[in-house]
Each structure stands twice: as structure tokens, then as C-alpha cells.
């Protein structure tokens, strides 16, 4: 029982981080109908921001995660201004290919600037710390990442559902032309949505150097899992992406331990295929 609880908790903690990564993608996808293939690379850039702040000026990832969020907010807004706005109104494949190009560009830029070396931050505030509840071990870095994920996703949900800005975002997502007719500056909404979507993944990436090595390839798998979470949760549904993230984390952990470690991603993508087959709009899709 103790082992089961340990595996389950590990899965929930990983899943909450997946959920935060997926929430940003979900927002962009839901509002703008743009598949951002560079989402995993945003995460990687955020990890580098946090790493360099830690390495050069000794800022802990727990603090630099805010700077990483702000940086990726700017990167997201810039991506919209320089790339995405030219693809709006064109076939979906155009934006998809454009963001794919951006992903390749970012990965190779980091490879060129920082080399493919794996970089690890040692002596972080949370690094290596654990606490024990009965026989269950909770890793403090992962726990903090999960708490941060929960806070950010709740704030994002409140922002979208309980503020005038959020209603404007929803209106733009439903009908851009009608939103403009009632005076919403949809161009501004798009920039902010891309920025906020980036900030979510930026915050997730910012705290990760507490426990994960940074290298140019690190974002690829997280990006892929974020797509699975968004598609499973339902396009545009933040609660859907959040719950799917946790579900993915739990399935990955349980399958990895009780079936075989090498089977964990098979189970995750198998579940994704099953959901998409039985309910193509996702669990919370409409």
C-alpha cells in the first residue's frame, strides 16, 4: 500500500507540472486555433533563463521562475508579432509549419550558444530536499513545482472566467469579427494570449532546474505530452488540460511501476488514442 501511495503521489506531482505546461498551450490553441509546435522549446528556453540566473548571479530557481515567466511572456508576444499574426486567417497548416520552424530555430540557437552540454544547478534551496510522511517520501522541488502549477492554473482559470479581460478572450475565441464589432481590440488579445500561454510554460520551465538537467533537447518530450494533455482535456478547456495533465502523470507512474518502466509512455499515448477515438473533442471538449 505504501509503495502504491508513493507511486501515485509521484505521478500526481509530475502530472501537475505537465498540466501547467499544457495550460499555456491550451489557451493559445483554444483562443487562436494555433498549434504552437515551439511550446516545448519555450520550456527549454525558460530552463536556460533560470539556469543562467542561478549560475551567473546566484538566483535560486524558486525566484528566477518569475523572471523566466516574464521572459517567455515576452518571447510569446514577440512570436505573435513577428510570425503568428501573418498566419491568422490562413490554413492551419501555415501556423503549424511556422511554429515548427521556430522550434527548430530555438533548439539550434541554444545548441549553438550554450553547446549541447547538460547543465545542472547544484546547491539550490530545494535541491535534494525531501520530507517523509509515514513511509512516503515527498521530494520538495517536485512538490513546489506542483504547488506552483496549481496556483498558476487556478489564477489562469480565474483570469479567463472572472475578469473583463477573460470575457474578451472568450469572445475573441468564439467569434473574432463579432468581438471587434463590440469594441474588443482582438489584436491586443492575441498578443496577450500568446504571451500568457508562454508565461505559463515559462514558470514551469523556470522551476525545473531545481531537479532536472538543462540541455537543448529537454523540452521535446514535455511539448509532446502537453499536446496529449490538451487534446485529451478538450481544446480550449483549462480545467480539462489540468485534469488530463494529472491523469497522464498518474497513468505514466502506475504503468511504469506495475507493468514495466519501458511501458509508461505506451500507456500514456495508448490512453490518448483511446480518448480521441471514443470522444474526439476530448474529455471536457465542446
Amino acid at each position: 500500500m505504501e509503495t502504491f501511495l508513493q507511486v501515485l503521489i509521484d505521478g500526481i506531482l509530475s502530472g501537475m507540472v505537465y498540466a501547467l505546461v499544457a495550460a499555456g498551450l491550451c489557451l493559445i490553441w483554444g483562443v487562436m486555433d494555433v498549434i504552437n509546435f515551439a511550446h516545448g522549446e519555450y520550456l527549454m528556453v525558460a530552463m536556460y533563463v533560470s539556469y543562467w540566473l542561478g549560475f551567473l548571479v546566484n538566483v535560486d530557481p524558486l525566484v528566477s521562475t518569475i523572471a523566466a515567466g516574464v521572459f517567455i511572456f515576452g518571447l510569446g508576444a514577440l512570436t505573435y508579432k513577428l510570425i503568428i499574426r501573418f498566419t491568422i486567417g490562413k490554413p492551419g497548416l501555415v501556423a503549424l509549419l511556422a511554429t515548427f520552424g521556430l522550434a527548430v530555430f530555438l533548439k539550434n540557437l541554444c545548441m549553438n550558444q550554450f553547446s549541447p552540454n547538460f547543465r545542472i544547478l547544484s546547491d539550490t534551496w530545494l535541491g535534494g530536499k525531501t520530507f517523509h510522511i509515514g513511509g512516503i517520501i515527498l521530494a520538495v522541488p517536485q512538490l513546489m513545482a506542483a504547488v506552483l502549477a496549481l496556483v498558476v492554473v487556478v489564477l489562469l482559470y480565474l483570469l479567463i472566467n472572472n475578469t473583463r479581460f477573460g470575457w474578451a478572450v472568450q469572445a475573441t475565441a468564439m467569434d473574432r469579427d463579432a468581438a471587434e464589432l463590440v469594441g474588443i481590440n482582438t489584436e491586443r488579445i492575441y498578443i496577450l494570449v500568446f504571451g500568457i500561454g508562454g508565461a505559463c510554460v515559462g514558470i514551469a520551465g523556470g522551476i525545473m532546474p531545481s531537479y532536472l538537467a538543462v540541455h537543448p533537447e529537454v523540452g521535446s518530450m514535455f511539448g509532446l505530452i502537453a499536446f496529449v494533455c490538451v487534446a485529451m482535456g478538450g481544446f480550449g478547456s483549462i480545467p480539462g488540460a489540468f485534469l488530463s495533465g494529472i491523469l497522464v502523470g498518474v497513468v505514466e507512474a502506475l504503468a511504469g511501476f506495475y507493468i514495466a518502466p519501458v511501458f509508461k509512455y505506451v500507456a500514456v499515448f495508448g490512453l490518448y488514442l483511446a480518448v480521441v477515438f471514443l470522444r474526439p473533442k476530448g474529455i471536457f471538449g465542446w
Binding site: 545542472i120 521530494a139 537543448p216 533537447e217 507512474a253 511504469g256 509508461k264
Partner: protein, 426 residues
């Protein structure tokens, strides 16, 4: 005022320009030099999850080429006292990136031979890439020198043009089990069970297969068999599986970032086996060992070279100075040095064969024993199938960030710390 050029003047100018380009342009040197150039292709993972290792392997080949092409009388290495080989031939390298992927590696090998016209290939670090890429070379009757790939299957194919320098995972598995037996005898270690953790690739699966064979022959019981997908976002289930089985010893085949994630996850789960020994992997990467700091200590692995081995291999020091200029100060490791040896031995064989004929050079490689001051045993000789029968490595343990020689006992320079110190006592 308008300027018009007559047709005749135009053609004359064009002719002069073209003649100038062909005769005095940058291509000229190349054209003439082509007569005295041997193109060698390098195929390493320059991008992807193990790019750090791949880039160091490439730098090692470049170091060897610098020694072969130029006079370096201060170096105690074959061919260092002359310029070039075969009376003035210089080696020119053509680099390719396999990304660590077998399909990309195979396509790049074909491109290097067919389009770049390379005479031989050196590579490919990943066993999974060396396997298909060397088949391309064999089909074209061209030499493939393999420095670091360790899958024993590579030299069990009876190929004529494939030569591998590193010890195989078969030899390493036997060496690891011998280490465990030695510990049981000398230290009353009471090691009876083994856990395996390995990446689900040609390298990892083959290493695990050899480990199982060696363990079974020694009467050790394998209680956990944990393959994992390289580049995973976490290794929680993998380490939890090991922790649950709680083997006395763990043998690991994890590359690059996966190795550091494994160590950190074990620390997070407050568990470590009594002893952990790694195949050619992240363990030997001096950068990872440095970044992991004290967390990397007391883990063990096979090592063909580390700067602490200079007392056994005095010739390496000066060569390493050249290598460091290409890697920003990072020294040789057990893998990259094998690639430098591969280039040097190939050049010696070409020199001895006296002719640029791949079949003759391959025969020469098989027929002779080569001086190799950059190898632990000091010699290189190839058995049928291309395995270096003189390949050696030592089982080392990281202590205070340094690779200390532990086994075989006659090569040891330090006492083993056994069992691994618990995480909360470091």
C-alpha cells in the same frame, strides 16, 4: 555618359575572369592538393541527447589528424615525428551528424561515401548508429573504424572492413561480475542479487543481455530488469522498481542527461544499492561528474582513460593539451580517446600498407599489432570480426570527483568505498 561593352570585350572579360577563378582562385589549391589528400569521414551525434559526447569524439579525431598532418617531435605518439603519411599525404576530415539516430547515421554514411567521396569512416559513438553505418561501409568495401561503440554484436558479424577499439559490453560485463566476486571474497560483501537499468536501445539492450549471461555464470540472481526510454521526463517508476526489488548491486547503461537524472532520482527516493557499476555511459563524462558534485561519488564504472591515469599512460598528457584547445579545456574521457586511437591506428596502417587500397589496408590492420600509447594496454591488435583483442579498461570509483582505480587489484590506486554511502551521510 553611358558605358557599353562590345560583345567581343564582354566574352574576353568573361574568359579572363573564368581562367582567373580556375587557376588562381581558392579552388586551385584544393584541386592540386586533392592529389595528396585522404578524405576521412567522421560520423558522431553532434546534436541530440548525447551531443556532448559526440562533439568530444569529433574533437579527438581532429586532435589525431593534427598530429598526423604536422610534425610534433615533442609527442611520444606514432607518426608525430613526420608530416603527413605516404610521402606527403594529408588527412582531411569531412564531418557528419548522426543525431544519435540509426536511420540518419546510415543516410549520412551513404552521403559521405557517395557524395563527399571519403576514403574511410570513423564513428559513431552510439552502437545503434555504428551498426547500420558500418554495413554501408562493408557493402562498399570501405574501412569503418569504430572507437567507442561497445555492443559486442558489432564485432560478431565477421565483417572484413570493420574495426572496433573499445572493450565490448561482453568483456565489461565479465569484468563487472569479477569485481563483485572479488568484493564478496575480499570484503565479505555478500552480494547475491543484481538489478539492471538500461536505455532501451541497441547499446542498452545488448549490455543488459551480456550482464545477465555473466551474472548467471557467476551464480548471481537478477532481481530487477529495468529498461527505459532515453530522454524520459522522469525516472521515478524506474528507480521505484529498483528500490522495491532492492538488489545488492546495480549495473547501469545510461547515457548523458539520463545518467544524472538517475542519480538525482535515487537521491530523491533516498535509496542506493550497495554498489552500482556503469557501462560506457554518463558515468565517464567528466562534465556530468563535475556537475553532479558529491552526488556522483562512490558510483563506479569501466574507464579506459581519465586524467588520473596519466601515470599509466604518460604519452597522453601532451596530446591532451591539443585536445583541450578544441573542447574548451575538457580533458579526454574513456570514449573520446578511443576515437583518437582509431584515427592514429588507421593512419599507421595506411602508412604500413604503402598504398591507398582499402582491402590491403584492412589486411594490414588485421595482420599487425600496433603501438598505441593512448590505449591503456599500449597496443592494439584486431581479431577476426574487427575486435581489438588488446582492449583494456579498469573499474573505477568516483571519489571526491576523481576517477580512482579499483579493479583489477594490481592496477588499483585506492581502496574502494563500500557500500555506497547513504545520501544523508555525505
Amino acid at each position: 555618359m553611358s558605358f557599353r561593352m562590345s560583345k567581343g570585350a564582354f566574352w574576353a572579360t568573361l574568359a579572363v575572369f573564368l581562367v582567373g577563378v580556375f587557376c588562381f582562385g581558392p579552388g586551385m589549391g584544393q584541386t592540386l592538393a586533392q592529389e595528396k589528400v585522404i578524405k576521412i569521414g567522421t560520423l558522431f551525434p553532434l546534436t541530440g541527447p548525447v551531443a556532448t559526447a559526440g562533439q568530444r569524439c569529433q574533437a579527438a579525431v581532429q586532435t589525431a589528424v593534427e598530429i598526423i598532418n604536422n610534425k610534433h617531435p615533442e609527442l611520444k605518439v606514432p607518426l608525430a615525428d613526420q608530416e603527413g603519411i605516404l610521402d606527403g599525404y594529408k588527412i582531411v576530415l569531412v564531418h557528419a551528424d548522426s543525431q544519435g539516430k540509426p536511420d540518419v547515421g546510415k543516410a549520412e554514411a551513404e552521403r559521405l561515401f557517395n557524395q563527399e567521396g571519403v576514403w574511410a569512416l570513423i564513428g559513431s559513438y552510439n552502437s545503434s548508429v555504428s551498426k547500420p553505418a558500418s554495413l554501408v561501409a562493408e557493402r562498399m568495401k570501405r574501412i569503418f573504424m569504430c572507437g567507442a561503440s561497445s555492443s559486442a554484436a558489432l564485432t560478431q558479424r565477421d565483417m572484413n572492413f570493420f574495426f572496433r577499439l573499445a572493450p565490448t559490453d561482453e568483456t565489461e560485463s565479465v569484468e563487472f561480475v569479477e569485481t563483485l566476486k572479488w568484493l564478496n571474497q575480499k570484503k565479505k560483501a555478500n552480494i547475491e542479487t543484481i538489478g539492471l537499468i538500461y536505455e532501451n536501445s541497441e547499446f542498452g539492450k545488448h549490455a543488459a543481455g551480456e550482464a545477465k549471461k555473466a551474472a548467471s555464470a557467476a551464480g548471481l540472481k537478477v532481481v530487477a530488469d529495468v529498461p527505459f526510454s532515453p530522454g524520459a521526463t522522469n525516472l521515478n517508476s524506474e528507480v521505484q522498481t529498483l528500490k522495491n526489488a532492492n538488489p545488492d548491486a546495480v549495473l547501469g547503461a545510461l547515457l548523458g542527461a539520463d545518467y544524472s537524472l538517475w542519480i538525482r532520482t535515487m537521491k530523491q527516493m533516498a535509496w542506493a544499492p550497495k554498489i552500482a557499476i556503469s557501462y560506457c555511459s554518463g558515468y565517464q563524462d567528466p562534465v556530468i561528474a563535475k556537475q553532479l558534485g558529491p552526488d556522483a561519488d562512490f558510483f563506479m564504472g569501466s574507464t579506459a582513460y581519465s586524467p588520473q591515469f596519466n601515470v599509466l599512460m604518460p604519452a597522453v598528457g601532451d596530446v591532451e593539451k591539443i585536445f583541450k584547445t578544441k573542447t574548451g579545456g575538457v580533458p579526454f574521457d574513456g570514449d573520446s580517446i578511443q576515437e583518437a586511437v582509431a584515427m592514429l591506428v588507421l593512419a599507421q596502417a595506411i602508412q604500413k600498407a604503402g598504398v591507398l587500397d582499402a582491402e590491403k589496408v584492412a589486411e594490414t590492420l588485421h595482420a599487425n599489432t600496433w603501438d598505441s600509447p593512448l590505449s591503456l594496454g599500449g597496443k592494439v591488435a584486431f581479431a577476426k570480426g574487427g575486435q581489438n583483442s588488446k582492449a583494456h579498461s579498469v573499474v573505477t570509483q568516483l571519489q571526491g570527483g576523481e576517477y580512482k582505480r579499483i579493479f583489477p587489484e594490481e592496477m588499483a590506486d585506492t581502496e574502494i568505498v563500500f557500500p555506497i554511502k547513504p545520501w544523508n551521510q555525505r
